[in-house]
C-alpha cells in the first residue's frame, strides 16, 4: 500500500492542496496526518474540515501541540504562535474543535508508530533534532518504523543491531529502503507541509510504499505568495508570511 504522510500543515491551504494533489497523482492509497493542522497560517477552518472529510473516508490523524492548544489555553506556545492561536480560536467552529479534541496522541499500525513529536513522551512535545533525541524515541517503542513531524526539517534516523544511530538528511524524490534486518529501527522526521524550515519553500511531505518498504521524501511547489498574502490580510504576525517565502 502506498501511504501519503503529511505533518505540520499549519493552516496553509495552498501548500496542503498542492501536496494532496501531488500525492494523489503518485497513486496514494491512504493518507496519514501527523498533527499541527492549525497555527501560523490563515486557513485553519478549511484545513481542519479537509482533514475531517478525509478521516471520514479512512484517513488517519494524530494530535499536534498547536491543535491541543485550541481548546487548552494552558498549552505553551511562543509569543507569535500565541497571537496566531488566539486568532485561530475565533475561526474554528464547534465541530472542528471537537474533532481536534478527539485526536489521539499516537497511532500504532503494527510495525509503524505515528506521533507528532516523538515516542518517549508524546505529550511533552520534544523535538527530535539530535541523535540522542532520536535514540530516546526509538528505544521507547517496539515499532520498527516511527514517523513524526514537529521539527519542520526532514531527517531520517536509523538504529543498528549494535544500538548505533545514523542521521541522514533525505534527498527529495530518492526512495530509501527501510531495511527490516535484525535490530534495525527507523525514525522518520517529516518536513512541514505549511511551514517548511529547511531553506526550501516548497511544501514537504513523504510517501511510504509498505510492500517495498520504501520511504520517499517529496516536495510540492505551491503558490507561496498567495499563502503569505492571506496571512498578512488576516492581521497575523507578518513574520509568518515572510518566512514562508524563504522556507526558514
Amino acid at each position: 500500500m502506498l501511504i501519503a504522510m503529511f505533518a505540520d500543515i499549519h493552516a496553509n491551504r495552498q501548500a496542503f492542496r498542492a501536496c494532496l494533489a501531488q500525492a494523489s497523482d503518485f497513486g496514494a492509497e491512504q493518507n496519514v496526518f501527523l498533527g499541527d493542522y492549525v497555527g501560523y497560517g490563515a486557513d485553519p477552518e478549511w484545513t481542519v474540515t479537509t482533514v475531517m472529510d478525509l478521516v471520514e473516508k479512512g484517513a488517519r490523524a494524530v494530535l499536534g501541540n498547536h491543535d491541543g492548544a485550541v481548546s487548552n489555553p494552558r498549552e505553551r506556545l511562543n509569543v507569535e504562535a500565541q497571537t496566531a492561536m488566539e486568532w485561530t480560536r475565533g475561526e474554528l467552529g464547534s465541530a472542528e474543535r471537537r474533532f481536534l479534541e478527539g485526536l489521539p496522541l499516537t497511532l500504532d499500525d503494527g510495525e509503524r508508530l505515528y506521533v507528532h513529536s516523538e515516542a518517549s513522551s508524546p505529550k511533552s512535545w520534544r523535538y527530535v533534532t539530535s541523535i540522542d533525541a532520536a535514540a530516546r524515541s526509538i528505544i521507547a517503542t517496539t515499532a520498527q518504523i516511527t514517523i513524526c513531524g514537529h521539527v519542520h526539517r526532514p531527517a531520517l534516523y536509523s538504529m543498528s543491531v549494535t544500538g548505533k544511530i545514523t542521521a541522514f538528511t533525505p534527498k527529495t524524490g530518492s526512495a530509501i529502503q527501510l531495511l527490516a534486518g535484525p535490530g534495525r529501527r527507523w525514525l522518520a522526521v517529516l518536513g512541514s507541509v505549511g511551514q517548511p524550515r529547511d531553506g526550501n519553500p516548497a511544501a514537504s511531505y513523504a510517501m511510504l510504499d509498505t510492500e517495498r518498504r520504501e520511504l520517499t521524501y517529496c516536495r510540492a511547489p505551491y503558490d507561496v505568495e498567495e499563502a503569505a498574502t492571506r496571512i498578512r490580510k488576516n492581521g497575523l504576525p507578518t513574520w509568518f508570511a515572510d518566512r514562508l517565502l524563504v522556507g526558514e
Partner: protein
C-alpha cells in the same frame, strides 16, 4: 524463527544451491540457479549468527540497500534479496573468471598492461560515481573483467551512497577498509569523497607496475596512519625504466591531499588513454621521497584531523567535466571558430576543474587513397595539431587542462561520437555548418552528433542568422 538449512541442493525462494564458492569472514558465496533464468548467479549469505561480528550485518544491510539501485556493465546485475526475517541473502549475476587478485604472482606487469587495467577500472569508477556511489574498498579482489573487457566492481559492503543513509558511518570507531589501499581521509573517518577511490586505484597501479605496495601492508593504526605524512618511494627509484608519464599519473592519484589528485575518475581515465598528452610535472621526475622537513611539517600539521565539508557528490563530479570542442579548420569560418572559443571560454571560466579536448577530423576519402603527407610534403596531421593548439591559444589554459586530437575518419560525425563515447566526454561544443550547399550535399555533422551523443551537445553559430538569408 525456523531458518531453512543452507546446504547443497537446498532451495530458497526458487533458487537452488549448486555449489559453495567461498566461505569468508563476513559472508558465504554460493553458486545458485533458478528455472527460467539462464544468467549465471551467485548468492551471498551473511554470517549473522550469535557471536558473529555485527559489522557483517551492517555491511550486508548497506549492500542490500545499494545493489538494487546500481545498473550498467560495471557492476554485477542485481537479481533478488531475501527477507531478513526468513533468510537474508542477495542474489546477483555471477561474473565468470577470476578477480584481479589472482594475478598478484605475476607482478610487476608490463607498463602498457597496467595502464590498460587502470583505464578500465577508472571507467568503472566513473560510472559508479555517477550513480552516487563511492566504493571505498577498491582492491584487486574486488575487481573482475567481463569477457568483453570492461571492469566490474564487486562488494559494496563498505560503500557510501550519496542519497541513502550511511549505515556504516557511526558503526565503528576504527576505520574500515583494506589497509594497503585505504586513503588518508578514510583513516580520518571521511566517507563521502569519491577521490578516495582514485587513491585506492593509484595504490593498485603502483603495486601492479612495481610489485611493491606503496604504503606497505601494515594493519596497525600507526602503520596505516604513516600515509598521512609519509609519501611512498617514487616508482622510478624502484624501476629505472619506469615511464615518466605513468609515474606522473600514479603519484597524482596517491597524493595525500584529495584536492591534489584527479578531480574525477573520468579525468584519470582520459589521462591514461592519452599518455603522450600527460603534463609532466615535478612528480614525473622524482627519484627521492619528500625531504624530512616536509614530512615533519605534515606529521605535526593540526589541520590533518580537520573534517572537511564536501559538496554533494553529483556537484563535485559535474564541476570537473571534460568538454570536447570540435573545431573545423577547413570550412569553419573565422567567425564560427571565434564563437566556439567564446562558448568554451565561458564554460572553462565557471568550472576551474574542467578540461578541454580540442578535436579536428582529418577526413579520409571513401575511395581515394590517402597520403598523410600532402603535395608539399607536410605531415597533415601535425599541421592540424598545430592549428588546433593555435585556435586554443587565446584561452590561455594551463597545459593539463588542454589536449588536442586529430581524428582520421571517413565520417566526421561518427569519429566525434566514438571519441565522446571512449573518453567519457560530458559536453560537446560544435559549430553548425554555415554553407548550405555543403550541408545539403554532405549532411549536417552537428545535427548527427546532437542526435546521437550520450551527453550534452551545444551547437554554436557565429551570430544570430538573418531571417531573410
Amino acid at each position: 524463527m525456523v531458518r531453512p538449512f543452507l546446504e547443497l541442493g537446498a532451495t530458497i525462494d526458487r533458487f537452488r544451491i549448486d555449489e559453495c564458492l567461498h566461505q569468508g569472514g563476513m559472508a558465504t558465496l554460493w553458486r545458485v540457479s533458478r528455472a527460467g533464468t539462464t544468467m549465471p548467479m551467485l548468492m551471498k549469505v551473511p554470517r549473522i549468527a550469535e557471536g558473529e561480528d555485527p559489522a557483517a550485518i551492517v555491511s550486508f544491510e548497506m549492500e542490500q540497500m545499494i545493489l538494487p539501485r546500481l545498473s550498467g556493465i560495471h557492476v554485477p546485475k542485481f537479481v533478488a534479496a531475501g527477507d531478513f526475517a526468513v533468510q537474508p541473502y542477495i542474489v546477483v549475476e555471477r561474473i565468470p573468471g577470476a578477480t584481479l587478485f589472482q594475478r598478484l604472482p605475476e607482478l610487476p606487469l608490463p607498463y602498457a598492461e597496467v595502464a590498460d587495467l587502470g583505464l578500465k577500472i577508472a571507467a568503472a569508477l566513473d560510472d559508479l560515481h555517477r550513480q552516487h556511489v563511492i566504493h571505498l574498498d577498491v582492491k584487486p579482489s574486488n575487481i573482475m573483467f567481463r569477457p568483453t573487457g570492461e571492469a566490474v566492481l564487486l562488494d559494496f559492503g563498505l560503500s557510501h551512497h550519496d542519497q541513502l543513509p550511511d549505515l556504516m558511518q557511526e558503526e565503528f570507531r576504527l576505520p574500515f577498509g583494506t589497509a594497503p589501499y585505504m586513503s588518508p581521509e578514510q583513516l580520518l573517518g571521511v566517507r563521502n569523497d569519491p577521490r578516495s577511490d582514485i587513491f585506492a586505484l593509484g595504490v593498485l597501479l603502483y603495486f601492479f607496475s612495481t610489485g611493491v605496495r606503496p604504503f606497505g601492508e601494515s594493519e596497525t593504526m600507526y602503520g596505516m596512519r604513516r600515509r598521512l605524512w609519509r609519501d611512498p618511494i617514487p616508482p622510478r627509484r624502484l624501476k629505472p625504466d619506469y615511464p615518466a608519464w605513468l609515474q606522473e599519473v600514479v603519484l597524482r592519484c596517491i597524493e595525500i591531499e584529495p584536492a591534489w589528485r584527479y578531480p574525477t575518475a573520468a579525468q584519470l581515465a582520459f589521462e591514461l588513454s592519452h599518455p603522450d598528452q600527460v603534463k609532466l610535472t615535478n612528480r614525473s621526475e622524482r627519484l627521492e621521497r619528500d625531504p624530512l622537513t616536509t614530512v615533519l611539517r605534515r606529521r605535526f600539521n593540526k589541520d590533518l584531523a580537520r573534517s572537511i565539508t564536501l559538496p554533494a557528490m553529483a556537484r563535485q563530479i559535474s564541476s570537473a567535466p571534460i568538454v570536447a570542442v570540435a573545431v573545423d579548420l577547413v570550412e569553419g569560418s573565422t567567425l564560427l571558430n571565434d564563437a566556439l572559443r567564446i562558448a568554451a571560454e565561458r564554460i572553462l571560466a565557471t568550472l576551474p576543474s574542467a578540461r578541454l579536448a580540442c578535436l579536428n577530423v582529418l577526413k579520409l576519402g571513401r575511395i581515394t587513397v590517402d597520403f598523410t603527407l600532402d603535395e608539399q610534403g607536410h605531415n597533415k596531421r601535425i599541421d592540424r595539431l598545430v592549428a588546433l593548439k593555435h585556435w586554443a591559444e587565446p584561452l590561455k589554459l594551463e597545459n593539463h587542462r588542454l589536449t588536442a586530437h586529430v581524428l582520421e575518419a571517413v565520417d566526421p560525425a561518427n569519429a566525434i561520437l566514438e571519441f565522446v563515447q571512449a573518453n567519457h566526454i560530458d559536453q560537446v561544443l560544435i559549430g553548425a555548418r554555415q554553407n548550405s550547399l555543403l550541408r545539403n550535399l554532405l549532411g549536417s555533422v552537428s545535427a548527427k552528433v546532437a542526435a546521437e551523443a550520450p551527453c550534452t551537445v551545444t551547437i554554436v553559430r557565429p551570430g544570430r542568422t538573418s531571417e531573410t538569408a
